[in-house]
Symmetry: C2
C-alpha cells in the first residue's frame, strides 16, 4: 500500500505541536464549516433502542431522498441505481472492484486524489496516469493523449470533478469529449463528483449522469462529507444505471453488511438543508479562494492555478523539492511560534518526478487564518531559500 501524501508529515506536525508551535493546517480537506443543524438534530433526537444493521444498500427512505436530490439537478434516478456506502471512499473501492479484475487498468488525469492509489492497490487495479498541467490550469488533457494510453486492459477513465487537488472544473465540452471517448472504446467513466456544489464564478457543474448515451458506462461517486461538512459521518453513495455494475457492487456491500446507521440518519436529514446554507458556504469559499490566490500570487516565484471549484489549489513554489520544504516548515522553522502544514503535491502524481515543486493547499480555514498561514508560508520560503 502506498503512503498517503497528506499523512506522512503528520508525525512532524505532532512534534511541532509538542514543542508548542501552532500549526495552521492547509494540508487536509476537513472544512471548518458547521454541519447543518438539521442533520445534527436528527441524530440527537433519534429513538433507536436496538442499533441494528441497516439495509446493505442503504435505507429505502434515504435512497428515495437521494433520488429526489438528483431530480432537482435534472437527473432522474431510481433508488435501485443508488448504493449507499461508507463514505465516498467505499464507493470508489466498490466502483473499481466492480468493473476491474486484478491487473486491469484505470486511466486517471494527474495530479489526482492520492487515495485513488490506495483503493487501486487494495483492489489490484493498475493506475495509468495522464498528465494535466498547471500551465493549463489542469484542464482535461487532449483526447489523443488518452487514446494513446487505452489498452485491452483499460477498464475505465476516472475523473474528479471539480477536482481535488486541482480545483479544476471540467467544462461541458470536456465532459462531452470524454463521453464520446468511453463510448468509442466501450470502457467505463467514473466521476468523483463529491464537490459538485462548490463551483465558482458562475460556472455550472456538468455531471456525467446527464449523458444518456453513456448510461451503462457512467459510475458516479458521491458523498455527504464536503457538501454538508459531515466528513465524520462516513456516508457516500455509488450511482450507476448499469444494473450489472450495481449488482456486483452490491456483493461487495453485502460482505461488509451495512453502512453506519447513525450517519445515515444524519445524512438523510441533511438533504433538507435549506438552500441558504449553500449560498452562504459558497460565498465563504469564493472569498477564501480569492483571498488565497491573491496572497499566494504576491509571493515571488509562486505560480498558482486558479481553482473554479472544490476548495483546493495547487501552487508551484520556488523550491526544488516541496516535500523537503514542507517537512522543514514543521521541523526546523517557526514564525513567532507558528508554522504551516501543506501537502506536497508529488504524492498526487503517479508519474515519478512530477509535481516535485508543487504543494496542495486546502482553503478550509477562516479568512484571518488563511492570511496568517500564507504570510507564514512566505516567510518560510524566504528563510528556506536563504539557508
Amino acid at each position: 500500500m502506498p503512503e498517503s501524501p497528506i499523512r506522512k508529515l503528520v508525525p512532524y506536525a505532532e512534534a511541532a505541536k509538542s514543542r508548542g508551535v501552532h500549526v495552521y493546517h492547509l494540508n487536509i480537506g476537513q472544512p471548518d464549516i458547521k454541519t447543518p443543524q438539521i442533520a445534527l438534530d436528527a441524530v440527537k433526537n433519534n429513538s433507536i433502542e436496538v442499533l441494528a444493521y441497516s439495509r446493505t444498500e442503504g435505507s429505502e427512505d434515504y435512497r428515495r431522498k437521494i433520488a429526489g436530490y438528483y431530480a432537482k439537478l435534472g437527473i432522474e434516478l431510481n433508488p435501485a441505481e443508488i448504493l449507499v456506502t461508507t463514505g465516498g471512499s467505499e464507493a470508489l473501492s466498490f466502483a473499481m472492484g466492480s468493473i476491474a479484475d486484478f491487473g486491469d487498468e484505470i486511466i486517471i488525469p494527474e495530479p489526482f486524489y492520492a487515495n485513488y492509489n490506495g483503493f487501486a492497490t487494495a483492489m489490484g487495479v493498475t493506475v495509468v496516469p495522464i498528465v494535466s498541467r498547471i500551465e493549463e490550469n489542469f484542464a482535461l488533457p487532449p483526447i489523443e493523449e488518452f487514446e494513446k494510453l487505452i489498452s485491452p486492459k483499460t477498464r475505465a477513465i476516472l475523473i474528479c470533478n471539480p477536482g481535488n487537488p486541482t480545483g479544476y472544473l471540467y467544462s461541458e465540452e470536456e465532459i462531452t469529449k470524454l463521453a464520446k471517448l468511453v463510448r468509442k472504446h466501450d470502457i467505463f467513466l467514473i466521476a468523483d463528483e463529491v464537490y459538485r456544489e462548490f463551483t465558482y464564478d458562475g460556472k455550472t457543474h456538468h455531471s456525467i449522469l446527464h449523458y444518456p448515451e453513456i448510461k451503462d458506462q457512467a459510475l458516479v461517486v458521491d458523498s455527504v462529507s464536503k457538501r454538508y461538512s459531515m466528513c465524520g459521518a462516513r456516508i457516500g453513495c455509488l450511482i450507476s444505471r448499469n444494473k450489472e455494475v450495481i449488482q456486483t457492487a452490491l456483493k461487495f456491500a453485502q460482505a461488509r453488511l451495512s453502512p453506519p446507521t447513525y450517519a445515515q440518519i444524519a445524512s438523510e436529514a441533511a438533504l433538507d438543508t435549506p438552500q441558504s446554507y449553500f449560498t452562504e458556504v459558497k460565498r465563504e469559499y469564493v472569498d477564501r479562494r480569492d483571498l488565497i490566490i491573491r496572497e499566494l500570487e504576491q509571493i515571488e516565484g509562486v505560480k498558482v492555478a486558479r481553482p473554479q471549484g472544490a476548495f483546493y489549489c495547487i501552487a508551484e513554489l520556488p523550491v526544488e523539492d516541496a516535500d523537503v520544504f514542507a517537512q522543514w516548515l514543521l521541523e526546523s522553522f517557526n514564525h513567532m511560534g507558528e508554522t504551516v502544514m501543506v501537502a506536497p503535491a508529488a504524492g498526487f502524481y503517479a508519474s515519478p518526478g512530477l509535481g516535485k515543486n508543487q504543494i496542495r493547499i486546502a482553503y478550509v480555514l477562516e479568512k484571518d487564518s488563511l492570511i496568517k498561514a500564507v504570510s507564514i508560508l512566505k516567510e518560510g520560503l524566504k528563510q528556506y531559500n536563504k539557508r
Copy 2:
C-alpha cells in the same frame, strides 16, 4: 464476488411478506437485545458542531479505553496496537490485505462465516478450507490435516472463536496447538473473536492474544456489533502486536480516512456498560440455546451440533438440499400464515457439496418466537417430505 448465503433468499422472504405471510428470521445474526442505554445516550447527548473526520486509527481516548477493556481480560495492549475499523468486516479486510498478496492462501476451518469469502475475493486472497464436522461438534480439525494444506503460499490460518456459524468454542488445548503450528511454519494466526463474551456452560474463552510466543503472528478481529447489540454502529478493531502489520493496516485505513464518528462515541460509551448487562444477556442466550437445541432434537431426522458460544447452531435436516428446502419454506409454504427463514449452510462451506443438508440457525429471537419458529420448521419438514 461470491453471493452471501444469508442474502440470496431475501427476495423470496420479501415476496412471502408481500403475500401477508409472517416470516420468523433465524437467518441473520441481528440480535433483538437492546443496546446499552449508556451508549445510546452518549450519542443523543453529543455536542458535535462540525462532524469532522476522526483519527484514521480511531480516537486516542477510545483506543485507550479498548486497551482498558483488554487489560480486564488479562491482555496487556498498547493503544498503538489497536486500529479502530468500520466494523469487524473492515478489520478482516485489513488483516487479509496486510499479510497477503494476490494469490496468497489463508486456511480456514469450514463451515465459516461466509463473508470471509467476500473479503478474500476482494483482496485477491485464496481461501483454503479445512473441514470440521458436525459429528465432532465442529471441533478443530487435526493439526496433521492443517499441515497437509500448508504451502509456500500459505500466509495465515483464520479461525472464528466462538464460531459463526458453528457456535463451537475452541479449547485452550486447541488454541495452544494452533499457536505451535503457526510458529513452526512462521505464518499468521487471525482470530475473529467478536463473540468472545458469549460462552456457555461455564467454559472460558481463550484469546490468541494470551500467547506471548506468537505475539508477532497473532491478529485479532474484534467488534462492538454483537457484544453490545450495536450491529448498526459499524465499529470494530484490528489488534496486533506486530508493528509492521499494524503499519500496513494503517495504510489501508488512511485511504478510507476514518471510522464513523458518531458510532465511535457510542462504542466508547458502551465500554462502561455494567457487567449486569452481560450477565443478563448471557443468561438469555443460554436459555435460548437450550430451548432451540431441545426443540430441534425433537424433530425426527434432525441432528444438531451443541453450541458452546456465540448464538448460532448448525442443524442437519432430513432433506437432500437445504437450499431448495429453505427457498420452498418461503415460496410455497406457510403454517397458519407464518413461515421461517433459515440460512442454508452450504454457503458457509468452501468445498463444493459439503453442508448441503445443513442449515444455520441464529437464535436471536425471544423464546416464544423461537418455539414458534421451530414448530413451523418441523411442520415444514413434514409437508416438504410428503410432497
